[in-house]
Symmetry: C2
Subunit: 302 residues, 2 copies
């Protein structure tokens, strides 16, 4: 039994002004689990792929001490596929295609040994699936949840049900404004924490992240990056680093959540330095610690 | 001889979605000097107004230990006037009118006693006027400079002359991108410090500020504000708090510049809480120190 991650697993075609890749490993589960794997293990994932899914990917995940018992491989069907193109301003992306394939009928089944996990991450999937997962868990201590504009706009009622049952919601600034119907982020955060989650993290891309909770606010800086090669998965890497560190330390105080936000930012910064999951595949403990210290020096004053 | 501030002094008509004021005290010099006056005094200002300028404003400035020897009052002429309207998104403003009046033929004359000042702030005025001021100073130790899109677009050559002669440039993110012709702020900062100023501060509004220099970056958080009543003068209040604190401490190390950036952010946060200069007119030492501590708690982690 370890940290549990449920979400999508996919194959991505990604174009940026610098390069392009096809059939690259993607999906929220993948990024979250890889980022978390540097802090704790095994990380159990629950997801679905088709039989076109490269065995090399499976091997790479296993090498990161990721437990694949909950991975469903559906014969004769294709893996979820997504294509997008980033503009020169990497904050803007066009979706080129979305092929749900096996994901269309995904029914997450939590392995028996993982139902008692103390900590789970619900990646960005339909709120009804997130509820399905929550229903299978036996009294988890700490649940971290992601969502996106699509679910806020189309299935808000279901999402509100989810929010009542999770401890931390991680969303970006535009999603926070949409969910709360409030342009001011400080007011938006108040409204959202009243919806259920004790803690809220608002990611602001190149401007860092804000952690709200315990009537306190923590402002995390962004890592100063001259070159971002591929923003795909940055938010998931953040969620993975954040939760992986928390799970390892088993300290859910606000002070430790602040540290976890920095570790999340550290993993997101590594993620965007390479295409697809490459930036998360081969990191050392020292690299991660050094970047944590860089974050500290970046925002520290006396 | 004290800290010297040169820039505009004006009367503003300001409309926001919440309220509107007419003939309110404005201008870069005014905001800079008021903010700086909480750290050091006397603050000497050089500027020009018409004989329509309210004596009440003069009294208020004098009450803040602001030295008005360099203030020219032109008889029979009107003060510089500016009108603008802010939208619901307070980052967007429409200029309604600009009447240069006495400012059209402004020739800054630095009082003899102020020519030897060790520290000067060049508010956002034409680069040719900034050069005129620099030519009158006798070897100042530390010069802080502001500018805006208008001068970057129209008088870039003159501005580049100014930049070779100042120690700190304070601009916002869009101005930094325009000046450097580089969308990435980290790269933009490198290009700009190569133009002359040893230190560069990029203000990012609700996302805080970045200080660049000594091959180091400091990221200052933004104060979490639920209600911004009037953004006018926030950048000038930042420059005033920053320079006032530096002048008082006479410590121009990077570590102390970081503290100065926070004091600048503190003064900007007070500025926007009320209309016109009202937010800077009646602060206590304790309020300023408490907010400095709030900034520290906002970004501190171990």
């Amino acid at each position: 039994m370890g940290l549990l991650v449920v979400g999508s697993i996919g194959l991505d075609n990604i174009e940026t002004p610098f390069d392009k890749v096809e059939n690259a490993l993607g999906g929220s589960t993948t990024y979250i689990a890889l980022a978390a794997s540097y802090f704790t293990g095994p990380v159990s994932i629950v997801g679905v792929v088709g039989d076109d899914f490269d065995l090399g990917h499976i091997k790479m995940l296993e090498n990161h001490n990721i437990d694949l018992e909950g991975l469903q491989i559906v014969k004769g069907k294709k893996t979820f596929r997504y294509g997008c193109r980033y503009h020169y301003d990497l904050n803007v992306r066009d979706s080129l295609f979305t092929e749900l394939n096996v994901f269309e009928s995904f029914n997450p089944v939590i392995p028996l040994k993982d139902k008692k996990t103390s900590c789970a991450v619900l990646g960005n999937i339909a709120p009804s699936l997130q509820i399905n997962v929550l229903d299978q868990l036996e009294n988890p201590r700490f649940v971290v949840c992601d969502t996106m504009n699509f679910w806020i706009e189309r299935t808000k009622d279901k999402l509100l049900e989810v929010l009542k049952r999770v401890n931390v919601l991680i969303i970006n600034d535009s999603e926070a404004r949409l969910l709360s119907n409030e342009p001011n982020l400080i007011k938006a955060a108040k409204k959202i924490t009243e919806m259920g989650p004790k803690y809220l993290i608002i990611k602001k891309g190149e401007h860092g992240a804000l952690l709200f909770g315990d009537e306190t606010i923590f402002s995390a800086p962004a890592y100063p990056m001259e070159n971002i090669y591929d923003p795909t998965g940055a938010g998931d890497a953040f969620a993975g680093g954040f939760t992986g560190y928390l799970y390892k330390s088993q300290d859910f105080s606000f002070e430790n959540l602040k540290r976890a936000v920095i570790y999340g930012s550290v993993m997101a910064s590594f993620c965007v330095e390479k295409f697809s999951t490459k930036g998360l595949e081969d990191l050392s403990y020292l690299e991660i610690q050094n970047r944590f210290i860089e974050f500290k020096e970046l925002s520290n004053f006396n």
